[in-house]
Each structure stands twice: as C-alpha cells, then as structure tokens.
C-alpha cells in the first residue's frame, strides 16, 4: 500500500468534512458559502487525483518527443469547467445573501429564523 499516495484521498476526505462542518455548524451565511466552496474544492481535488498517472505529464503534445505518458485529460476538462461554474453559483449565492441582509438586516441564520417566527 502506497501510504503517501493514500494521503491524497485522506486530504480529500478531511477537506470535504471541514467544508461540511462549516455548512452545518456555522450560523453565518457567508461562512456557510465559504464552507460550501471548500466542499466543492475537495471534490475537484478527488477528480484531479484520480486523473494522475505515475510518471505522467500534462496532456499536451510536444514536437519531437514521442512515446510520452500523459495523465488522463478527461477529469481535467470536467473540473476546469466546474471551477468557473462554481464561481458563478457562489456569486449567485452571495447575491441572495446580500438581498437577505437588505430584507432582514442580518446574515446570521438563527437571527433570520427568529425574525421569521415572529
């Protein structure tokens, strides 16, 4: 068992859960959103880790060099677009948070719930 390689997977698990913790335990909406994007980053990390091949290089052909080992380009394509989609959705979330602040005067979950109950 290649322990050093397994560390990548463990880091993915830890990062996923740190982000998840921020989402469920923090009351501040912006903190929740940061946690969510951290969760997302962990998934990106898993995909790219899966695509790596030993002794591989970036999947770009160079003239005059034949017989190279390339890492798998497919996960890279998926994640590349996912990052940009991720920032767009984060921006949408931030927009909603700003509107919540304007309506409720707060971005703390418990305060908003308290206002709603009244």
């Amino acid at each position: 068992m290649d322990w050093l390689g397994v560390y990548y997977y463990w880091a993915f698990a830890a990062l996923l859960m740190i982000g998840f913790y921020a989402v469920i335990a923090k009351s501040n909406l912006i903190k929740k959103l940061i946690g969510l994007s951290m969760f997302q980053s962990a998934v990106f990390l898993l995909y790219i880790t899966m695509g790596k091949i030993d002794d591989g290089t970036a999947p770009i052909y160079h003239e005059g060099i034949s017989q190279q080992i390339f890492s798998n380009p497919l996960p890279q394509v998926l994640i590349l677009t996912a990052i940009v989609v991720g920032i767009s959705t984060v921006a949408l979330g931030l927009g909603i948070i700003v509107r919540i602040q304007e309506e409720y005067g707060s971005i703390e979950e418990h305060e908003i719930l308290g206002i709603d109950e009244r």
């Binding site: 052909y61 920032i87 921006a91």
Partner: protein
Amino acid sequence: MTVFFGVFLLTLLLIVAIAIVRADNLFVAVMLGGIFSLLMATIFFLLDAPDVALTEAAVGAGISTVLYLAALALTAEREKRHTVHQIKALVVVTTTALLVIFATFDNVQFGDPTAPVHVHVGPWYLENTQRYMDIPNVVTAILGSFRGYDTLGELFVVFTAGIGVLFLLGTRPKKDTEAAETLIPQQSETSEGLRNYLIPRLTGRLLVPIILLFGLYVQFHGEYSPGGGFQAGAIIAAGIILYALLEGETAALRVVPQWMLMALMAGGALLYGMVGVVGMLLGGQFLDYSVLADNPVTGQQLGILLIELGVGMTVSGVLLSIFHAFAARDKY
C-alpha cells in the same frame, strides 16, 4: 519526490482550511481563501493539470476574493459566535470522515495506469486528438470538440448565474429612488478607487495592459499550451476589475460600458450556439466542426477557435457584470 511536495502542500491546505472555518473575522477568512486557492492551484499543477491550475488561480484567488469582499462590504464583516449544533455536527462530520477514509482503502492506488478511470475513453482521446484536429493540447480538444455539448451546457450555466445575479442585485432598492439625487455626489466620492494612492495606482496602471495581453495570449494560444476561453475570460475580467479598483467604478464602466457587458454575455453564448447551427446548415451534426472548412482537420481547428472565443466572451462578460452589480449597490 513530487508525492512529498504533494503531502507538504496538502497538509498546508488542511491547516488553511481549518483556519478559515475557525476565523471569527470574515475578512480574514476571505483572505485565507485566496491562499487556499493558490495552494490548490499548485497541487493541481503537481497532479499534471496545468489548465485546471491556471483556472483555479485566476478564478479562486483573483475573482472569488473580490466578489466575497464586495459582498462583505454590503453585509457584516464579523461573524457572531453562535453554534447550536456544534457537538452534533462534530459527531456527524467525524463519522462521515472515518467512513470516507475507510472507503479509501478500497480506492485504486494513486497513479496506477491500469485504474478503471484510465482504461475507458481517456486513452481514446489521447490517441485520436492528433488525427482529428491536430492540436497539441488534448484538454482543449476534449473541451471544445469531443465534449462540446458539455461545455455548451456549462457555458449556459455560467450565463444563467450571471442573469440571476443581475435579477437579484441589478435593480435599485425602492427606498433609494427618492433619495437618488442626494446620493450621487456621495457615490462619486466612494467610487474614486485608489486615485489618491500614488504607488499602487502607478504600478496597477502598468500591469493592467500586461494582464489583458496575457489574457488574450491565453485565449488564442489555448490550443498549444495551457489555456482557453474559461481561463482567458477570468484573467481578462480580473484585469478590468483591477482597473475598476484603481480608477473607480465609473471609469471602468466608461471603458467597458454596461451595454458592452450585456453584448459580451449574450454574444458569447450565441456565438457558441451559432457555430453548432452553422455546422447543421452545412450538412453536419450540431457542434460538428468538420464541415466548417474544406479540410475536416482545419474545420475542427476553426470550430474550436470560435467556440473558445464564445466561452471567453461570456465568462468575462458574466464575471464583470457580477462584479459591477455588487459594487454598484450601496450599503443599505
């Protein structure tokens, strides 16, 4: 050797992640988020994904930091200490983490070339990119042509998110319309940017054209080196946001006015779709670029160039519109 670098960087990444969650001050959390993204980009580079690293660095460390800061300026900078479910959350999180870690022992070994991920379509793309479109960067080839439908979908997600933010923040709050006239002089004061700070302003002015030039290089050299529309769009947007921070909102809107942003947003997505439709009219399938020129390979190259241009236009337009939507809103 690279695995050691990887372990070092991953440990740093986890430390930064914990620091972000623990930070009371959201401003600190956002700044640490920038460091988080840069570390992430370095790790992606170590894992042979320069395209992804470039995107993460431009988007995560550049644009997302600016967006978070803009949102913080409109809300509150400090988080209130209030965690009701702390114990429950910790239990849930630890259990799930242990389960995931337990599952990793059944995962394929890191870097194993015979792993299931690497036997299916991946090798086919690597073998056939040269034959069908003759461009060196396989990532761009897959993004633009082999999986062009996916990318079209992603682009429309970005487009839709941009429209959503404009719906949420584009309209002025009712209260302000009456007081709009009194607000104008006050606004021009705050939207001056860094005009009074000589050194950042001079250096920034020097850098903005270089950043834009680099963005264009990344855009049009994406078939030969890491790069492409998504990265270029983010870099160009970052350059113009830097200009807006230096010279103020109004100056940036004078350079790239609102109608141009709208045209970029819609035009890019439209260009992408049109390339597909033109392919259909010329007798091919939707998003089949081979029919665009006499030679199928040239047609593919032309198609990829055009759709990358469309992607770049939409991404930069959306990111800039989002930035302006946040920046134009006054604290309420």
